[in-house]
Amino acid sequence: MRWCPSLMLFGFLAAVNALSSSGNRLLVVLEDSAEKGLYSTLWGDLEARGYNLIFESPKNEQLSLFELGDRAYDHVLLLPPKSKGFGPSLSPKNLVDFIDSDGNVLLALSGKSTTPSAVSSLLLEFDLHLPSDRSSVAVDHFNYDTLSASEKHDVLVLERPGKLRPDTKDFFGGEGVLAIPSASPHTLGDTSLLAPILRAPATAYSFNPKEDAGSVEDVFATGSQLALVSALQARNSARFTLLGSVESLQDKWFSASVQAPGGKQVETANREFAKQLTAWTFKETGVLKVGKIEHHLVKDDLTVEDLNPTIYRVKNETVFTIEVSEYAYDKYIPFEVPANDALQLEFTMLSPFHRLNLTPTKQTENSTVFSTQFTVPDQHGIFSFRVNYKRPFLTNIEEKHEVTVRHYAHNEYPRSWKISGGWVWIAGLWSVIAGFLAFVVVWLYSAPTSAADRRKKTQ
């Protein structure tokens, strides 16, 4: 009975830690512990969602992301460093290794201080580019907060981001406006792993406030090419989020009132956005899980033996079903494919022979069952059922199930009498047999005729 208390303990832990789908150890790297108080609402919100916050200074030499070769933390939240970088324990290589071993990182920058070149080189690993002076700030003379930045225009007042594309899920949308103070903007490289979360408006641009130029003539990037918040989801589904403005997470901006030029004074939605951003980065949202995968022949009375056979025949009618759940904050819910998007099944041998949209057929309490029916191609070989669902903001689904496809056995073809073109040959065969039997009878019992007698006489 020794397992009983440990099982209870496990159940208790599971109940407490059931928030993020990938663990609750959150390392917060904060150089100046005096600044901790500026973000108290954020820490409170994270702790209320079940995270175990561990505050460390990058100067701490004992700090390590790994312990005995395993991750020591599940998630890392990096606030901008004051000194030249995050130090040796949080070098770009260590952080990339951390992401490679499924850790999630949220990196916040600030336009108020120069970003260290170590951080810039970390971002280059992910094809995220900072301006070369690394101290630029995003300004917009059309969408700024007239209450707090009437002169410098560096507090951007932006609508909450909508969907990235018509076929993606909206994890960051909602009512209200965001205040993004002194943001360090960046641009995105051309890779499908990156997705912008919040882009600057078309009228925004970036400039270095330390350069005292009358007007800006050499810009790093302008308008919506500038991203303020971006996300990278690695091939192992680990997440890295770059937030351009760490100030937007401060208590001050969680409850501030802002007023865009010509607009009304409104409360910011920064707190809600920070929740969405941390929840997505730390895998509370947009996490997909595959449940049961079944494939079988189309049949009325299915038994267990009929499921997931290893061999199919060409032109078999086949059904494929896959069960997918999505994690939403604290539980798995049925996954719904966004409009204009599709979960697709490929039946492949080297290249896909079929690529079909899976349609939802059943919904359970926490999963959706998708299925499709198709005819196995008329080509034998080693095929596989593949579901390769990679979308921005959703963890990757990559399923591959191999089956053999054989050709017809000799007794599975239609019989010759079913082929009308073969009737002539069948008639020929049986008429030869009938003729042979008739000949045998005639040969055995035929009496010589007078004609034969005549021939004998002439001889």
Binding site: Y205, S431, L437
Partner: protein, 288 residues
């Protein structure tokens, strides 16, 4: 009507007072010109943009052309250099935008030059005209200016290829449905029946020929009388062999018919030698 005039006066006052409180940015003396490389000075197209207004005609820009936009930025009524003087190009279909900063002098005179090389490939691959707006803004209270100025159409020669660009993003891929080889076809049944008739038509011809040559079964009673058992068994074993073949054709397997054919064949061999002995007896007796 006294109060009417008061309201009117007040509103005139208010409208006059507003720009005074917060001056707004704008521009004057704006021109847009297109010059073709190699052509003489002044040969290209040149339009004046009305102050704080827009051109109605689209401006065509060819592959070898240079677009020049010049303007003087103004804060309120006085010419002044602004921090942001941009020419903003937007592609109406996708909403993509890119801005080109003017080079601004201290007195607000600004100019920008643009060729096809400066445009991103996404813009070059569209056939729609691009929306060109002028952005003028700076720090402080003054209201920034952002309004469409003209439409920029890319004048592409009829034989110039439209550049394409490809980006790879995760998303839905086109559906693929395997195209099956077509099933084997049989000729029309009428033709088949005609050939079957030809095959079966051989029987009457064969029978007629045999009868013409005098084929008969007159010795059957004699043969049955002299050796009834061998003849009956021989003929029925032949029939049985053909019947076994028929069963093989319809349902039996090879290993089912082999013993059956061996048995029927042995019976046919033994009974056949007896039956043929009887036939030989008839020949020796001079009956055939």
């Amino acid at each position: 009507m006294q109060w009417w005039q008061t309201v009117l006066q007040l509103s005139v006052l208010a409208s006059a007072a507003l720009p005074a409180a917060a001056a707004s940015w704008g521009f004057v003396d704006a021109t847009v010109s297109v010059q073709t490389k190699g052509a003489g000075v002044g040969s290209g197209l040149k339009h004046d943009i009305p102050s704080n207004g827009a051109l109605s005609d689209p401006v065509p820009l060819g592959n070898a052309d240079t677009l020049k936009v010049a303007l003087t930025a103004q804060e309120g009524k006085s010419a002044k250099s602004a921090h942001q003087v941009f020419l903003l190009l937007q592609e109406p279909a996708s909403g993509l935008d890119i801005a080109y900063p003017f080079s601004v002098k201290g007195n607000g005179k600004s100019r920008v030059e643009l060729t096809w090389k400066d445009l991103p490939s996404q813009f070059l691959s569209t056939s729609d005209a691009l929306d060109a707006s002028i952005l003028i803004g700076s720090f402080g209270e003054s209201q920034a200016y952002n309004a469409p100025a003209f439409k920029l159409s890319l004048a592409r020669g009829p034989d110039e290829p439209v550049p394409t660009f490809e980006v790879s993003r995760y998303g839905k891929l086109p559906e693929i449905h395997h195209i099956f080889k077509s099933d084997p076809q049989s000729p029309p049944v009428v033709i088949t029946i005609a050939f079957i008739a030809a095959v079966l038509g051989a029987f009457p011809i064969l029978a007629g020929l045999w009868l013409y040559l005098g084929a008969n079964i007159s010795h059957l009673p004699t043969a049955i009388k002299s050796a009834p058992l061998p003849h009956a068994v021989f003929l029925s074993s032949l029939l049985a062999i053909e019947g076994i073949f028929f069963l093989y054709y319809t349902s039996w397997t090879l290993f089912q018919i082999l013993p059956a054919v061996a048995a029927a064949g042995t019976v046919a061999f033994i009974s056949g030698s007896r039956a043929l002995g009887e036939v030989q007896g008839r020949r020796l007796a001079g009956l055939r």
